[in-house]
């Protein structure tokens, strides 16, 4: 059942854009790289859906600067970004764009003046500074970097789910996982491990994210003893379709010129943001809509009406792809109202690292949405792609550098650990004799997250969530039954592994949210609705301490730096 896999210098877990970028960079720096993904590399995460990349470079307006991009990022982050991260991101952006072009990426016409005039604010950016490849920027970047990874001899394994990190006295030295195609469990040793498993949006019942976004890497790092940070900061995209049902889960691309109405036909944004109405920030809009629905003013599908009818044709011409998708789903935005509500979209929080991606566990790195620091309490629109590229590159390089200097005197017995993993999974499969199944359990978890740890939180809702998670963590393994008891080709088992990660992470998110007794950015407490800049300009940090979560708060600037 256990297989010996070749060792590597650097293991990258997660084949999205951050993981691929890290793999390529590590390989260029001379490391032997193994890239693992629980589904298919370059295909099955959130990167494929990304549309635009914000970066300042020679293509930008003369009036623009990396300093302004930094400023915009910090304003959006409500003062709790790690300033160094944000600065590195905006300053390294130009070079990373050039690196990608050298790999064969071709962007649409880059010159900003082709799209806007200087000084005209664009989705929170003070100047237009976006690069794209029509509507497929993320997808095309993935293709380009994946091809580069082939050329650089990055070894790749799909359908391989990492179940544990190998951690010993000297830190992280590899990973154990299940190839669920064959049913084999393998341990792989390496000088460094980079976690790049993406965000955790799928923990919520309403999400724009694909089903793979279950936050696995955050839990792996937590279990390995690494610090997580800002977990309470989950960005909810305010307007995601609930009806027509065929569009459920899709974000409305442009809501600034839309009108929102509650079930009584009222333009309710008048009460929440009289000056900007729907053209307000994402967090405020999400909170307003959620409040409106909670107050009983929502539609029968638990949404609010969105009206983009009767606008001039130039408006619709701005997003032809979205208009066409709607038409394909039987819905014409020109003449019909849809129904929307907020959905989880991005996870600002995650694994705490320094600016080279090192976590608090020696040998363990993190990059991309799974990591944290850059975006603070609210990610600025279109800042995601550039972040994963800049830090993917940095972290790949840092990991490669480490392995060349790190001694390999680790003597831990990985065979015994493999066996323990095998035993644990076997028990997991056999133990479940319940009538419930893994999908029911996941649905229940996601409903709990949306209800209790969603857009609007309170002490009651969060404590309720925490007890729910603690209870389920012990109950669920015996409550659910698996139809197949085999390790091989058992997709229920894969979902079960994800479920156990989600149970742990859900609890950690709820604990972080409980700890922060104020509202800031994406985190909204109805019992503490005001932003408290006297006491709460800092970050909530959570880590495993003697098998229990330990939550602390650190003011900005007081956090011990993760040693480089």
């Amino acid at each position: 059942m256990a297989e010996r896999m070749a060792n590597a210098d650097v293991i990258v877990i997660g084949g999205g854009l951050a993981g691929l970028m890290a793999a390529v960079t590590a390989s260029k720096a001379g490391a032997r790289v193994l890239l693992l993904d629980k589904c298919e590399i370059g295909k099955s995460g959130a990167s494929v859906q990304a549309k635009r990349l914000a970066a300042v470079g020679p293509w930008s307006f003369r009036e623009d600067s990396t300093k302004q991009h930094l400023q915009d990022t910090l304003v959006s982050g409500c003062l709790i970004n790690d300033r160094t991260f944000a600065r590195v991101m905006v300053e390294d952006a130009e070079q990373v764009v050039l690196d990608l072009e050298a790999m064969g990426m071709i962007f649409d016409e880059k010159d900003a003046s082709r799209y806007a005039s200087p000084g005209k604010s664009w989705a929170g950016h003070s100047h237009f500074r976006l690069l794209q490849c029509q509507d497929s920027t993320g997808k095309v970047l993935l293709d380009v970097v994946r091809r580069e990874a082939y050329r650089r001899d990055v070894a790749m394994r799909n359908d391989f789910v990492v179940t544990d990190l190998l951690v010993g006295a000297e830190g992280c030295y590899g990973a154990i996982g299940l190839d669920y195609r064959t049913g084999q469990i393998s341990a792989v040793r390496s000088g460094a491990v980079i976690v790049a498993t993406g965000g955790a949006g799928y923990l919520y019942a309403r999400t724009s994210n694909p089903p793979q976004m279950t936050g696995d890497g955050m839990v792996l790092a937590y279990q390995a003893g690494a610090e997580l940070m800002d977990l309470e900061m989950v960005q909810f995209y305010p307007t995601n379709y609930v009806y027509p049902r065929a569009l459920e889960g899709k974000n409305v691309g442009s809501y600034a010129e839309a009108k929102l109405y509650n079930v009584h036909g009222e333009r309710f944004m008048m009460h929440y943001d009289h000056g900007r109405l729907e053209n307000t920030t994402r967090d405020r809009l999400a909170q307003a809509i959620a409040t409106e629905i909670r107050s009983g003013n929502g539609t029968e599908h638990d949404g609010v009406f969105i009206d983009r009818t009767g606008l001039p044709e130039e408006y619709y011409a701005q997003f032809p792809i979205e208009a066409r998708s709607c038409l394909e789903a039987g819905f014409d935005i020109r003449t019909q109202q849809g129904e929307v509500s907020p959905a989880s979209h991005y996870t600002m929080g995650g694994i705490r690292t320094n600016v080279e991606g090192k976590t608090t566990v020696e040998g363990l790195f993190a990059a991309g949405e799974v990591a944290t620091g850059t975006h603070g309490a609210n990610r600025l629109a279109d800042n995601s792609l550039i972040e994963v590229l800049v830090f993917g590159k940095r972290v790949g390089r840092a990991a490669a550098r480490l392995t060349s200097s790190r001694s390999r005197v680790v003597k831990e017995d990985q065979v015994a650990k493999q066996q323990r993993t095998l035993d644990r999974l076997t028990t997991f499969l056999k133990e479940g004799r319940g009538k419930s199944n893994v999908h029911d359990a996941k649905s229940a978890l996601r409903r709990t997250m949306s209800k209790n740890v969603g857009v609007i939180r309170s002490k009651t809702s969060l404590e309720e969530a925490i007890s729910w998670f603690q209870e389920k963590c012990t109950q669920i393994p015996s409550a659910i039954g698996f139809i197949s008891k085999s390790m091989k080709a058992n997709f229920e088992l894969l979902e079960g592994i994800e479920l156990m990660h989600m149970l742990k992470l859900g609890e950690l998110i709820a604990r972080s949210a409980l700890h922060r007794q104020e509202s800031r950015g994406a985190h909204y407490r109805e019992d503490f609705p005001v932003t408290d800049n006297q006491n709460w300009v800092g970050n909530v940090v959570i880590r495993k301490h003697v098998d229990r979560p330990e939550v602390t708060f650190r003011l900005i600037g007081t956090s011990t730096e993760v040693k480089g």
Partner: protein
């Protein structure tokens, strides 16, 4: 309340000692629901062990390819109808992991092997051919869903069998943008019939054939020798087949009467014979039969005789647009000075050249209306200008040539004509838009005869399953390939052109239609 769906799903578990089977589920319907919605319902409410793969649900990740009622489709894009029934199968050509999840490891492995290291990066960014953005824009749309491979007639015999058409676009990409491609990759381009089946299925409308052709042009130095020889001969002799001092007029050799009365005369209708009909002895009865039909219908037509050059289509297939231009210019002028207004041709390759390629290569409209023989003859029949003695055979099977059907949308004219000749026109399982290539196209026959052969055998076997001995099509390439393949399988069955069938029906004996070559 809309009627629920009945969904039949392929189930297979490698852990069980049981063969694959279908299970049927009833799924409640909501408007515009897609196959993923249905599968998700089954998994959540009816059978938690059902395995299927998807991610983005917007047609970008390419992971959810399946067969729906036998046709390749993206599960997230295929909308189901209320009260409908759908059978869902995994994509063929890949090992099944479980139920609808297939193993694409071989695909990725082969994809990796097509990459070539690009050593000098500095030149990469400022390459002068960055203006090939149009091509790049086409690449960005391929999501590697492999639906195309599921239907590709060449796929089973490709060097990289699991790559299929995505391989062509990737080789093209490497050739156009990544600094080059290996010889194996370049050769891969010619393992394609350019039959367009892939394009007709592609959910992203990737112009796969165009990309392949453009790439062929770029890798000219790495062509299979047979292709280079063919095209340089074409450049030299102006014709494709045979020894050609007579141009494509070999079929006219003994027909002094026809030569005297019809060659190089001023007339509104210009008959373009083409290399395949004009120079292959086995096919030269067809243009003769055509002239007989036209004479009976009192059509004023002219022939170019030895002035007729190859239409140039083979150049176009190799991406050699400059070369193709010469042929276009010559043939257009040859007809223009005879006052011709309409071009009629029986070869779908020539038809495509006249109909669309000439205008494209010359960047201007050509001054002719262009007809395939089946269309023209249909028109004559409608006008009552050809009297028929009625159906002379019980049944015949019709094979749609790729270049006539899928690529030019001509399906009905040949069937209409055939319907006058036989009581029953038998449709093959893969017909009309889903017709399988006979293996004769794309210059593959010369470059990779093994690939062409397996496609030909597969098509012949499908035809033979009908059990009929009257096989009809409307393309000299198809006729040649199918006939020789039948022979090689020990079946002495002729393949008729639609022109021959009509002539045979006119004279009252479909089997006696002339192979003698005399006008």
């Amino acid at each position: 309340m809309s009627r629920p769906l009945v969904v039949q799903v392929y189930r297979y578990d490698p852990n069980l000692d049981e063969p694959a089977c279908y299970q049927t589920y009833t799924v409640p319907y909501f408007e515009n629901m897609d196959v993923i919605d249905a599968l998700r319902y089954i998994q959540n409410h009816l059978d938690p062990s059902l395995a299927f793969r998807f991610s983005c649900e917007e047609g970008k990740c390419g992971l959810c390819g399946v067969l729906v009622n036998g046709k390749p489709a993206l599960a997230c894009k295929h909308v189901l109808a209320a009260g409908g029934m759908a059978r869902v199968d995994p994509l063929p050509g890949f090992p099944v992991v479980k139920d609808l999840v297939v193993d694409r490891a071989a695909y990725y492995k082969e994809q990796r092997s097509l990459q070539q290291t690009v050593e000098d990066r500095s030149a990469y960014v400022d390459r002068p051919d960055r203006d090939r953005f149009q091509d790049f824009a086409a690449f960005k749309d391929c999501v590697e869903c492999s639906l195309c491979s599921a239907g590709c007639p060449a796929a089973p015999a490709l060097t990289h069998p699991h790559m299929g058409p995505p391989g062509f676009s990737q080789v093209a990409r490497a050739a156009l943008f990544d600094g080059g491609v290996s010889d194996a990759g370049a050769s891969e381009l010619f393992r394609c019939f350019l039959c367009g089946y892939c394009e007709s299925i592609c959910p992203r409308e990737v112009p796969i054939r165009t990309l392949n052709r453009r790439a062929r042009h770029v890798v000219k130095g790495q062509w299979p020798p047979v292709v280079s020889t063919l095209l340089s001969r074409l450049k030299d002799k102006r014709v494709l087949v045979g020894s050609g001092s007579n141009g494509t007029a070999a079929w006219l050799r003994d027909n002094h009467n026809l030569t005297r009365t019809r060659v190089q005369h001023k007339a509104p209708i210009g008959i373009f014979v083409g290399c395949q009909f004009g120079m292959r002895q086995s096919r030269s009865h067809t243009p003769i039969n055509l002239t007989r039909l036209l004479d009976v219908a009192r059509v004023q037509y002219t022939l170019l005789g030895s002035e007729e050059w190859c239409c140039g289509h083979p150049n176009y297939l190799a991406g050699e647009i400059e070369e193709a231009r010469e042929f276009a210019t010559h043939n257009i002028e040859a007809f223009r000075k005879l006052g011709v207004t309409d071009i009629v041709t029986g070869c779908p390759g020539c038809y495509t050249a006249w109909k669309t390629e000439y205008a494209e290569t010359l960047q201007e409209q050509i001054p002719f209306k262009v007809w395939h023989t089946s269309e023209f003859l249909w028109q004559l029949l409608e006008e009552g200008r050809i009297a028929l003695k009625g159906p002379s055979t019980e049944a015949a099977v019709y094979h749609d040539p790729c270049e006539l059907g899928r690529l030019n949308n001509i399906y009905d004219a040949p069937r209409f004509i055939l319907g006058k000749a036989v009581n029953n026109v038998i449709e093959l399982e893969h017909s009309r838009e889903t017709s399988h290539c006979c293996g004769g196209g794309g210059l593959t026959l010369g470059a990779h005869p093994d690939v062409a052969r397996q496609a030909a055998v597969r098509r012949v076997e499908e035809i033979l399953e009908c059990g009929l001995s009257v096989i009809v099509t409307a393309c000299p390439s198809c006729e040649t390939v199918l006939e020789s393949t039948l022979q090689s399988l020990g079946k002495n069955i002729l393949v008729h052109d639609i022109v021959d069938v009509l002539y045979g029906t006119m004279i009252g004996d479909i089997d006696r239609h002339a192979r003698s070559g005399k006008a």
